[in-house]
């Protein structure tokens, strides 16, 4: 994936950069409006992470520019503004998703991966991971061509793990991903344990290796090693 991070907060940009780099991902950075505008005009990206409040201009204007020049780059707005107007106008202008700060890097990665997947594989939305095949649009998983029946939550969880391969993902982040932060469930991980346990069990029964490791008691890591 080729990603442009438009973010004026250097510390935040660094974290995103570190998290995304690797696995063939290339990240570029623009810290102000003009740099971002230039890069957007010159190059194409799989996904642009767009902060709304930028030095030198409004992030939404960048979005309009992009859409005017008919570019197909995916756009994920990351903003501290929880304002509905911004969310709606952002999505109206053609942004693919909207993430409110503060967010978990794993959530960001999952959403970016989803956007890029949608952009790149029109219709045929299949992820392969060793013996496991995931058809995201049909919500099917097969292990060595054996179908595995998962609940919606388990499926979401698995796709989330796949998007964050080799990363430690916290339980908070996973709970927020599955239930949203409104339900105030993020301090209660009983559900999460159950879902992870069921997921591992179902995949194991279908013949998949156990890729999901518990880490330091605060999260999980989906890894081959």
């Amino acid at each position: 994936m080729k990603i442009l991070i438009v973010e004026d907060e250097h510390a935040l940009y660094e974290s995103i950069f570190d998290y995304f780099t690797g696995e063939g991902n290339i990240c570029e950075h623009a810290a102000d409006f003009n740099t971002a505008s230039e890069k957007i005009q010159l190059y194409s990206y799989d996904c642009i992470l767009l902060d709304l409040g930028l030095p030198g201009g409004e992030g939404l204007d960048l979005l309009s520019q992009l859409k005017k020049s008919n570019k197909k780059d995916g756009v994920l707005i990351i903003s501290a503004r929880h304002s509905l107007d911004d969310r709606l106008s952002g999505l109206d202008l053609g942004a693919d998703d909207y993430l409110v700060k503060p967010f978990h890097l794993s959530e960001l990665k999952a959403r970016v991966t989803a956007i890029v997947r949608r952009k790149n594989f029109d219709g045929d939305n299949v992820i392969k991971f060793n013996e496991i095949n995931v058809d995201v649009s049909a919500m099917n998983i097969t292990v060595n061509n054996n179908p595995v029946t998962l609940t919606k939550k388990e499926f979401d969880l698995f796709v989330y793990f796949l998007s964050n391969k080799n990363k430690v993902v916290t339980k908070n982040a996973m709970a927020e991903h599955l239930w949203g932060d409104e339900m105030d469930l993020s301090d209660d991980f009983d559900f999460l344990y159950t879902h992870v346990k069921n997921l591992k069990k179902k995949l194991g029964e279908a013949g998949a290796k156990d890729y999901v490791k518990s880490v330091y008691g605060i999260g999980y890591k989906f890894t081959e090693a």
Partner: protein
């Protein structure tokens, strides 16, 4: 009461009273003046009779003049002289008609005899005059009242037109919309001033609104950014080295606190936004549908605590922001779950008039501060903002939220139309 009605009422009432009183006074004065004039005429006649008697030593002929009759009567010797005016009747011989009259009874001395003289004059003319004057007065009064009424009715209403149109615009004024409150052209100074003041006020309000909005946005932005940095750095930190379980526990605590801080902050911003009416995406919502999907969303939680959920919903649409409706339902549902007993019960009832959510739970002392910010029971894990936000949302849409304990159930009711 409308201003014109009120004004009309006072105006017409006062005018009527004043005109009636004037009429009465007028009547009496004219009556008095005319009677005085008659009396003077009678006195002149009396004088003439006296002079005639003195000069000729005999009574003049009791001839009748125009509208005047004189009669004599001899009185017994030693009666006192009298002289008095009185209202009598006057016999009109020509028309053989009794008319109101005024007579003067007086005494003249002739050759040692006392003779009573009665001079009577017809009052018919003066009475006619008075009547005509009275009629004219009444007529003028009536015409005046009618024209006053018509003026008030039509001219006043037309005069006040700019006021009503300004009022209408003020009513439909929305702080989020652009455009002036009133641009109606009027030549009345007061209304021009009113329009100017209203426009100035609207501008000020809009200015304040913009400032508030940008402040809220900025505050949110400024505080969320460091939080986002902390969160992302924690995520990065987690990827670096192996941690011991103890370090893991510490990290988890930091995560929790950061998450809590973010949620707390978002809740406070949300409260401020609702209070300042900054959430404007009100739309027609199928509330039944909303509640049903919320029940599905909470299904896992219900099952975890072994709660029995009774749902009785009838169709209901509301006009409100979907976002806020979702928040309200989330808060009420989480509340019903969080403060429930193991294997307890939740009843969710939606009718045309109210949404009622009741749940079993421990007895609590209702301190009346349930809907206050940061008020929560000691064992609650929440932030104490959920109900405050819920209440605020209800206020925004004119709903009424009520809490009561009934038969061991805690019951929250939202009345959509508290007036009825």
């Amino acid at each position: 009461m409308k201003l014109s009605t009120r004004y009309n009422r006072v105006n017409i009432l006062t005018s009527s009273i004043i005109l009636i009183i004037t009429g009465i006074i007028y009547y009496f004065f004219i009556h008095l003046i005319l009677t005085n004039k008659l009396d003077k005429d009678l006195a002149v006649e009396e004088d003439e009779i006296r002079q005639y008697t003195r000069t000729y030593q005999k009574l003049p002929l009791p001839a009748s003049y125009l509208d005047q009759q004189v009669s004599y009567r001899e009185l017994p010797g030693n009666t006192n002289d009298i002289r008095e005016f009185s209202y009598t009747t006057y016999l009109n011989q020509e028309e053989n008609d009794r008319e109101p009259g005024r007579s003067l009874v007086t005494t003249v001395h002739l050759k040692g005899k006392n003779i009573q003289v009665t001079i009577t004059k017809s009052r018919v003319e003066s009475e006619d005059l008075v009547r005509v004057i009275l009629l004219i007065t009444l007529g003028v009064t009536l015409i005046l009242l009618v024209s006053l009424f018509l003026i008030n009715r039509f001219v006043l209403n037309r005069l006040w037109m700019p006021f009503y149109s300004t009022l209408k615009r003020m009513k439909s004024f929305e702080v989020t919309k652009i455009g002036e409150v009133s641009q109606d052209l009027t030549e009345i100074d007061e209304f021009i001033e009113l329009n100017q003041s209203v426009n100035a006020m609207a501008d000020r309000v809009k200015q304040d609104y913009r400032e508030l909005k940008s402040f809220t946005d900025n505050a949110s932005h400024e505080m969320m950014t460091p939080l986002a940095v902390i969160n992302s750095k924690l995520d990065s930190l987690l990827q670096t080295e192996s941690f011991t379980a103890q370090q893991g526990a510490l990290l988890e605590d930091i995560y929790q606190a950061t998450g809590r801080l973010a949620r707390l902050h978002q809740s406070l911003l949300l409260l401020a936004k609702i209070e300042n009416n900054l959430i404007t995406d009100a739309q027609e919502l199928d509330f039944k549908d909303l509640v049903e999907s919320k029940v599905r969303q909470f299904q896992e939680l219900f099952e975890r605590d072994g709660l029995t959920v009774e749902v009785r919903l009838s169709n209901k649409t509301v006009i409100m922001s979907r976002y806020l409706a979702d928040i309200v339902l989330n808060n009420l549902f989480s509340n019903a779950v969080r403060h429930n007993l193991r294997d307890g019960r939740i009843v969710i009832a939606l009718s045309k008039t109210a949404l009622v959510i009741s749940n079993t739970g421990k007895n609590v002392n209702d301190t009346g501060r349930l809907f206050d910010r940061f008020s929560k029971s000691p064992e609650s894990e929440g932030m104490g903002l959920g109900l405050a936000i819920t209440k605020q949302v209800c206020n925004l849409y004119g709903y009424h939220i009520n809490y009561e304990q009934m038969n061991g159930m805690h019951q929250f009711s939202i009345f959509f139309d508290p007036e009825s």
